[in-house]
């Protein structure tokens, strides 16, 4: 039996949700609409987030990156750690896959942009 207290993020209302249950049956209370119930169930059973972070390229410039799909919440720290060990060439550009199938989670780490080395040089 798991229990979770959180705020619904489906709309600005921000209903305080209490979600109790297990794989079989989940009870959501505190919500004021159907969307809140769906959100609450998902947050209890399969909470996951898209991760965004940074990678330093070989030449010292900075690339932003994200996971290609949401990562289970409990693995976020591991994936962040895996990202910090990525080495990528200076030719990296937005859309490049920096890490394929991170930690076997079926999620790729993809470059989303590369910062210019310096605005002034």
């Amino acid at each position: 039996m798991k229990e979770l207290n959180t705020i619904c993020i489906m709309c600005p209302m921000g209903c305080p949700l209490k979600i109790v249950g297990d794989g079989e049956k989940v009870e959501v209370s505190g919500n004021t609409c159907k969307r809140g119930e769906i959100y609450g169930k998902e947050e209890l059973l399969h909470p996951s987030r898209v991760i965004t972070s940074l990678v330093i390229l070989e030449d010292g410039s900075v690339a932003s990156c994200k996971s290609s799909s949401p990562v289970p919440k409990e693995r976020i720290a591991d994936v962040v750690d895996a990202i910090s060990h990525i080495s990528a060439p200076k030719t990296t550009k937005a859309g490049d896959v920096l890490l394929k199938d991170a930690l076997g989670l079926g999620v790729d780490i993809i470059a989303t942009g590369v910062s210019p080395k310096s605005g002034l040089n």
Binding site: L54, V62, S118, G119, L120
Partner: protein
């Protein structure tokens, strides 16, 4: 071998830099020791920036003497050194004419031109004085100057004329050797000197103690200020003072030489080193400004700051120690210290030069080369400049319209700017309404490139860095 200087100046505030500047006109060797990473790092960078007329000083005091002598010297120096200033005059506002009588008497005794204005004439000069104001005392010779730019310019001219400046060199001890010379000790080395001049500001009494000179009890009074956006400048023409009290000249409203407006200072008794503003004193400002000025715009505040006045007795302490010969002092220099600076410097330098038998040098630099300020150039001159150096076409500070060229110029000036704050004081990059939110990172990049240091080594000032850790290496140290 320790070098022997004719003169070591302790302290790089406006007094110390003015003294070095005047000493450098003589045929003698002079070194200024400053404990921080730039000159003008304490009281000189945080005061009202007023060039006082001198009507309010107690007659026959050093304050009166040096204020009155200093005022015209200040305007002349500002012109030669290209320091932003504005001879806008000042008014002291009062309800009744009689409240101004004492100031009028002092002005006469001090030989300062003043005029009592009735409400109508006051309003012609300053339309936004409070409704209660019936009369004002107008002093046309007063005005405002950028105090830190003045000190920096003194340091620059001194450096060009052979004066030496050592930064990050706090004096930790002063000894006297058998040959009668001083040994001034700093973590950067010991420097021998025939003459020592104590211009150490808030630390002046400590330096006196180190040298075995007269011991002074010092008290400190903090003053908090608001800086207003330059859009407020149009509402203030002159320096507006309330009637003075025992605590000082009171909370003024004034334009700044760089086009902002300030409200302040408060007067809070405190201890050495305290320049933290408090909720109470900021509230006090909000309550008191409207007493003399009816258009306070606290919502246009872009910065709060505070400075420390160092008070020894009722007057300046200026001259040679009676206990330690060849040890000179200019301490306890609170208001009107800024205005007095050039006069104090000339007085001390005359004495020192006579003592050393030093003659004036030929061919000293009198006028500094005018630094490029893109904002002040006309279109044709600007485009010619950009053709030669495109960096003058690259705006770094949006609010104050400061270019990369100006920042590089400051980093390579006679007394080089080596921190973000030092660049800010010289160029105004970061002084505008966004307070460096946009340009600070660009200034850091330029400093990093020009000084060839990593970005994590670029300091804001006073030794503190801004970009502290390289990402991904955060937990490696």
């Amino acid at each position: 071998m320790d070098r022997l200087f004719d003169c070591v100046v302790i302290g790089g505030g406006v007094i110390g830099t003015a003294v070095l500047d005047r000493l450098a006109c003589y045929d003698l060797s002079a070194l200024l020791l400053e404990k921080e990473d730039d000159v003008a790092s304490f009281a000189t960078r945080a005061n009202s920036g007023i060039v006082h007329a001198g009507y309010d000083c107690e007659p026959n005091t050093l304050k009166a003497k040096f204020n009155v002598l200093g005022n015209p010297l200040m305007w002349r120096d500002a012109e030669l050194l290209h320091v932003p200033c504005l001879k806008c005059g000042s008014i002291v506002v009062a309800r009744e004419r009689e409240q101004l009588d004492e100031l009028v008497r002092k002005a006469e005794a001090n030989g300062v031109e003043v005029e009592v204005l009735d409400r109508k004439r006051t309003l012609e000069l300053e339309p936004n004085v409070a409704d209660e104001v019936g009369f004002s005392l107008y002093a046309p010779s007063a005005g405002v100057i950028s105090p830190y730019q003045l000190a920096i310019a003194y340091a620059d001219r001194a450096a060009l004329n052979g004066g030496e400046i050592l930064l990050e060199a706090p004096v930790v001890g002063i000894a006297r050797t058998s040959d009668g010379n001083f040994e001034v000790q700093t973590p950067k080395g010991t420097f021998k000197a025939r003459i020592v001049i104590n211009c150490a500001g808030a630390y002046g009494a400590n330096v006196n103690d180190m040298a075995g000179a007269e011991h002074y009890e010092t008290s400190y009074r903090r003053g908090d200020y608001f800086v207003l956006d330059n859009t407020e400048r149009k509402n203030v023409n002159t320096v507006i003072f309330p009637l003075p009290t025992a605590a000082g000249k009171g909370i003024l409203v004034a334009p700044t030489a760089d086009g902002n407006v300030i409200y302040g200072p408060t007067a809070n008794d405190t201890s050495l080193g305290d320049t933290a503003t408090t909720l109470e004193s900021l509230d006090e400002l909000k309550r008191n400004v409207p007493l003399s000025y009816k258009r306070p715009a606290f919502n246009k505040c872009i910065r709060v700051y505070s400075g420390l006045r160092t008070i020894i007795g009722h007057d300046f302490v200026i001259g040679e120690s009676e206990k330690v010969d060849n040890f000179f002092m200019a301490i306890g220099i609170c208001s009107p210290g800024l205005t007095s600076a050039p006069a104090i410097a000339e007085f001390l330098t005359d004495g020192v030069a006579k003592r050393l038998g030093a003659a004036r040098k030929q061919n000293v630099v009198a006028e500094l080369e005018k630094p490029v300020r893109v904002k002040e150039l006309d279109d044709v001159a600007l485009n010619e400049l950009i053709k030669k150096d495109s960096r003058f076409g690259r705006i770094v500070c949006r609010c104050e319209k400061v270019t990369e060229g100006e920042i590089v110029q400051a980093i390579h000036s006679p007394l080089p700017a080596r921190t973000v704050d030092a660049v800010k004081r010289r160029t105004r990059a970061g002084m505008g309404r966004c307070q460096g939110g946009f340009c600070c990172t660009r200034v850091m990049e330029i400093l990093s490139r020009e000084l060839n240091i990593p970005l994590t080594e670029v300091k804001k000032g006073l030794g503190a860095n801004i970009a502290r850790y390289r990402i991904k290496e955060v937990n490696d140290d």
